[in-house]
Amino acid sequence: MPRLVFSILLGLLAVIEVQAQAAADSPEQKLAEEWIQRLNALDEWYLSVDGKEEGVEPLVNSMMDLYAPEVLAEVPPYDKDQIGPVMLRGKDNVRKWVERIARSQVRLNYIVKRQTEGPTGDYEGWRLVYSAKLPWGGNAIAFQIIGVWSLREDRRRYMAPGAVFIQYGPDGKIRRLRLLLGEIDQIVPL
């Protein structure tokens, strides 16, 4: 009898594991992770000994490969005097925004928030990515994030909870992006 119970438990665990793997490997999950990885990679460039910035362009290009030419992006304000989000129309304007991040922020560490079913399970578990088919074709994904970054100029570090909404066209390119970051707080040592 104990052997049977043990076998059933083992079987259940295996099923749970298989489902978990499927969720983690879903195309939507991969799209979310790809976007986050390319964003976080924007600070992986170097200075030459004569002070030249080397390797920025390929990183910006890598991020921009994800976008359609007519992309519409709503991003958080990045001007001190700006209140509210900024709407960027077209790939060229999005590129300026991406390039600005690459050149002005370091130690980028955006993560997809994890969650379990329980009421306090916000720090472990699944990286949930919500998805939908768009009526006009293409797919949409949404996921919660925590954004962490430092300013290149003074190394001040900031953190903000947020969310990302991305709509892809049938060609797999991003047509719309909405990045929300709220309650941006400076991280200071205790």
Partner: protein, 106 residues
């Protein structure tokens, strides 16, 4: 920057052996080297690195003055305090390639 390690080691050796004049010369050389370091970072809008370089120049000035007056205890105290800037700057801006070299992070 490549001369810094050698000069820094020489400074410590001279301070430990009470060679005040030689230590003061090393400190002066460090001031000059870190003026170059400051000039490297200044146009790159990386103020933490600029400040680390400035603090080392100030520290080297204090070490040099103490060494000239043969106050080795004060010089060694300043040496230890100044050295902290090296570690802090390397932590933020130097990346080990694992192949015997380093990369400069923005």
């Amino acid at each position: 920057m490549k001369d810094v390690g050698e000069t820094w080691a020489s400074l410590k050796k001279n301070l430990d052996s009470n060679a005040g004049a030689a230590a003061a010369a090393d400190a002066a050389k460090l001031q000059s080297l870190f003026a170059e370091t400051e000039a490297f970072w200044a146009p790159l809008n990386t103020f933490d690195a600029v400040n680390f370089a400035k603090r080392v120049q100030e520290g080297a000035g204090v070490i040099g003055a103490a060494a000239k007056s043969n106050d080795m205890k004060a010089a060694l105290t300043s040496y230890a305090a100044t050295q902290k800037n090296c570690g802090n700057c390397h932590l933020a801006h130097r990346e080990d390639t694992g192949k015997g070299g380093f990369l400069i992070r923005p």
